[in-house]
Amino acid sequence: MKLDTPFKLYANCVTVKGFNRSTICDLQRNDVRTIPNDLYDILTNHEGKTINDIKNQYHNEFDDIIDEYFQFLYDNEFIFFTKQTSIFPPLSLKWSDPAIINNSIIDIDKNSSYDVLKVLKQLDDLHCRHLEIRNFDVARVDVLENIFDYLKENESSIQSVEILLPFFKDVEKWIDSAKHKFLRVSFIRVFNCPFNQNIMPSGNTKAYIMYTKQHYESELCCGKISQNFFAANMKAFTESVNHNSCLNKKLSIDKNGNIKNCPSMQKGFGSVNDTQLKDIVTDKDFTKVWSITKDQILVCKDCEFRHICTDCRAYKENPTDEFSKPLKCGYSPYTNEWEDWSINPLKKEAITYYKLQADTEKP
């Protein structure tokens, strides 16, 4: 600790102010720490000054607290001391992505009859890199195998595929037999299993396989907000500052073949049977949700975790307000407590509106 040398925050430790407290989001070491708003103010207003200067500014009335703050910052390597304060610029918060669509969710149920391969070909033209395929009611092994074959035999922009499917007899045997086609499959989650088991990638398959007792009823399961989904990294943070942290550059196909931002959303943009994806991605109506940031969303805009958090525009506390807080978030930035959102009496009306079965939401 140097009391007479100016301090700087490391640029990849970014502060975010909340209603009661703030966070330091460490985008290099992927960590987040909560700090008092007083410390946020010191960091914002006095960066580049010496600790002794700062103590003087507060008329030496809070020396102990200031010492404690700076010891915390120094111990965690959030700050350094240098006379060269002017050569260290803040981090650029630019976010940019070389894809027109960078991720896609495709839902398939027992009645789905749309042409999935036709969708994949169009996603390639849009440079899509990540794909999530979800089966809720029944595992559509026939369609999944077609997808594996397509991805194995074609040059595709898709780099990773996640698959969700329900347990069926001999599912392990089936996965084993299809393994050699998993070149781009990164994650398979089998739900409704009689057992829990995680299998790490091995050999030449990079797929992580999870068998879980958990139940996923339908697309209504999506949209939960939890600390478990926090991501304090450069890409996610800068995307959140500039765009919607769930829907940006996302395009989804629901189980009926309708093109949507997300399968859980009401509004469709035509069927894949007669609509070209490339025509939808230039439709302002389709892309307008991409730019709804947490700074615009009610409650979220007061939350210290807003830029490391996910979002949900499908299920909102007020279904008619596009800037309403995600329904399935139990956190309050005003009390700093997490509660079970599904039993909150204030959310009952919205839960009924979306016909969410709260009891199937839990593991």
Binding site: E77, I87, L91, P98
Partner: protein, 316 residues
């Protein structure tokens, strides 16, 4: 069309390709691990022409030479002892002539020739001529010379003049990461005369600086080693070592100008420069790597260097 010469395992190349696709720039990627069939490199009074893997490179408007070099020697000729050594020398001159030829007519970023002829002393002298600070350095074959040099500085280091050593035979394996401290004990074990040793004053640093450059664009990053042992408090359970802090730097204007002067003087249009900022407040040039890695720099500083590289080829 743009020609990319790179390792098939290079992550940065993959990201640049995503940006080339985004900007609609057509490219041909050749892997440095694989045999590229040279149909012909023909030179006549009328024209110079080059066809590789059945593709006439007439259509190529620009080259990004990211890593390594093409392989024109069939794999079947790789195991013939001294004959292979001879053929590889021949191949090497061919590869260099092709680069030189392409360089005269096309935009050619990166260079195998510069990578292979990365003479650190040349660069040190060039840096000095551009008014950059350099560490006092010596190359000597005499124990007395080394001792005299050592006596002038608190500490000295030694490094390689070109490449880090990496020798593997059936009997021995010698390799090093490059720089190491030269101690009195180390010197006392030496004979009176030895192969040329490159030694340098050790300069205590406040932070290190890594600068990736492409044409006139400089992307600079400060690297902070651990503040001290005390700060390695174990409040988080990292599997890996806690990475050094890496943050963007906006170098002073005069240093930027001196660095750009330097890149022109040594005729490099891309590369990575290592510098330090010393505790006595000087920027000191250490060395340049013509084909250095920049992925960590791009990510830690949110610089989008890969996009900048793709854009270099936009209006060709």
């Amino acid at each position: 069309m743009i020609l990319l010469i790179s390792s098939k395992y290079d992550v940065s190349t993959n990201i640049v390709i995503q940006w080339l696709n985004y900007y609609g720039i057509v490219f041909l990627r050749l892997h440095t691990e694989e045999f590229s069939m040279l149909n012909y490199f023909s030179v006549s009074n009328k024209s110079i022409s080059l066809t590789i893997n059945d593709i006439n490179l007439e259509a190529i408007t620009g080259i990004w030479h990211r890593r390594g070099r093409l392989r024109n020697l069939p794999n079947s000729l790789n195991d013939l002892g001294k004959v292979t050594t001879y053929l590889k020398k021949e191949e090497d001159s061919l590869i260099k002539s092709i680069e030189t030829s392409l360089r005269t007519t096309k935009k050619y970023i990166g260079s195998y020739i510069s990578e292979i002829e990365n003479y650190k002393l040349d660069h040190l002298i060039a840096a000095k001529e551009c008014n950059l600070n350099i560490p006092d350095s010596i190359v000597t074959t005499s124990k007395k010379g080394l001792l005299d040099f050592h006596s002038k500085y608190d500490q000295i280091i030694s490094k390689d003049l070109r490449y880090a050593i990496n020798i593997k035979t059936d009997d021995i394996s010698i390799n090093s990461t490059g720089t190491f401290k030269v101690t009195d004990e180390l010197i006392s074990e030496l004979d009176d005369h030895f192969a040329p040793i490159y030694a340098q004053e050790y300069i205590e640093k406040e932070f290190e600086i890594r600068i990736f450059f492409i044409e006139d664009n400089l992307f600079s990053m400060g690297i902070f080693s651990q503040q001290d042992e005390q700060t390695r408090v174990d409040y988080r359970n990292y599997n890996d070592e806690i990475p050094n802090r890496c943050v963007p730097i906006n170098l002073p204007k005069n240093i930027k100008e001196q660095l750009l002067d330097f890149t022109r003087k040594v005729k490099l249009n891309t590369g990575s420069i290592d510098m330090i900022y010393s505790i006595d407040e000087h920027y000191v040039f250490l060395e340049v790597n013509p084909m250095g890695q920049f992925d960590w720099l791009s990510k830690n500083c949110n610089y989008y260097i890969e996009e900048a590289i793709a854009k270099e080829f936009m209006e060709l």
